[in-house]
Subunit: 199 residues, 2 copies
């Protein structure tokens, strides 16, 4: 890993676990074992530029994760279930520390930093785009496919919040079951309207 | 308002909009027009004690709001719809600044402050208790009633995150429609199993 990559990886982890404002530049440098001047060398805009870069990097990592779970041709109901089950395993395995790499910072900066808000919005939209595409490929027409993508997003993000706060995976289990049922229902409706159109 | 109430109200608003770590004690005192020593007089545990008190106060305000929207005997499907519609109006009216009074701080402190995490968890649980009670009163048996309460919570919290970040109420509209449909479905199932039991 280059120094820049180490700084970015350390920032991503610290921001996700304890927020943007609660993470000092000193803690980032200590965790990434980088010399002081290097942060401003690689991120001339300082902490805010680093924050936006960390949001973009976290957004990309999770987009790849969504693409892996919802691989082309996959059963989207099973993939939805796998998404929530994997999330439950992750939060439990990390002592309820690791969840969404964007949410904490997104809520902190939504009203205070326009560059960081935009980076978070682009990350979220990139996940919604993958999900929408996969639901469309499974036979669910727009705009229902995008609605389902948003329903899945809201359910898992809300469940991350409740799980981390209550130190229980119950919310992820319940939200995952409900979302998988919604996806299965949309598939049935799509098949029924396809049958009706074909008959 | 007493000085203590002014400090608490200012903290609630600042924490909700820009997070806990991003809000300095000086900003709280300036916003509440309180003298410096008064914060430590009323909150000897300092900022962390103030943070926990703000989470409890915000939790109580929102519990009362949930009790008002889901008034005893209310149509729980219409109440669910009203809950998301009111939320959409609030975030749009405040320039996407005001949403959940707990979520931002809860994510920030979930892994770093046990007293604040517990205060947030108690606030969330108090909302879930009201919702569960109302769903039970509407004829939906446990454990389905609690599951629905958790589904509603996750949907609205996830939608708050997406709405504030993308500056759009789309997520609240979509999540609200899906949750109202889930509540209507649970009512139909409860009625059907009641008919089956009675026949």
């Amino acid at each position: 890993m280059t120094t820049r990559q180490r700084i970015l990886a350390a920032s991503e982890e610290l921001f996700r676990r304890q927020g943007y404002a609660g993470t000092g530049v000193k803690a980032i440098l200590a965790s990434s074992q980088a010399p002081y001047g290097s942060l401003y060398h690689f991120f001339p805009g300082g902490k805010e530029e680093l924050g936006a870069a960390a949001l973009r990097a976290g957004g990309e990592t999770y987009r790849e994760l969504v693409e892996t779970i919802f691989e082309p041709g996959a059963d989207v109901v099973a993939a939805t279930r796998a998404c929530f089950e994997g999330a439950a395993e992750l939060v439990a395995a990390t002592g309820y520390a690791d969840a969404c790499p964007i949410a904490t910072v997104a809520l902190e900066v939504a009203s205070t930093s326009e560059p960081m808000r935009q980076a978070a919005a682009e990350a979220f939209e990139s996940w919604l785009a993958v999900l929408t595409e996969r639901f469309v490929a499974a036979g669910i027409a727009e705009p229902r496919a995008r609605e389902l993508a948003i329903e899945l997003f809201c359910a898992i993000e809300g469940a991350f919040l409740l799980s981390r706060t209550t130190r229980s995976t119950e919310a992820l289990t319940i939200a995952g079951r409900a979302t998988a049922a919604a996806v299965a229902g949309a598939l049935r409706e799509a098949a029924a309207s396809g049958d009706a159109a074909g008959s």
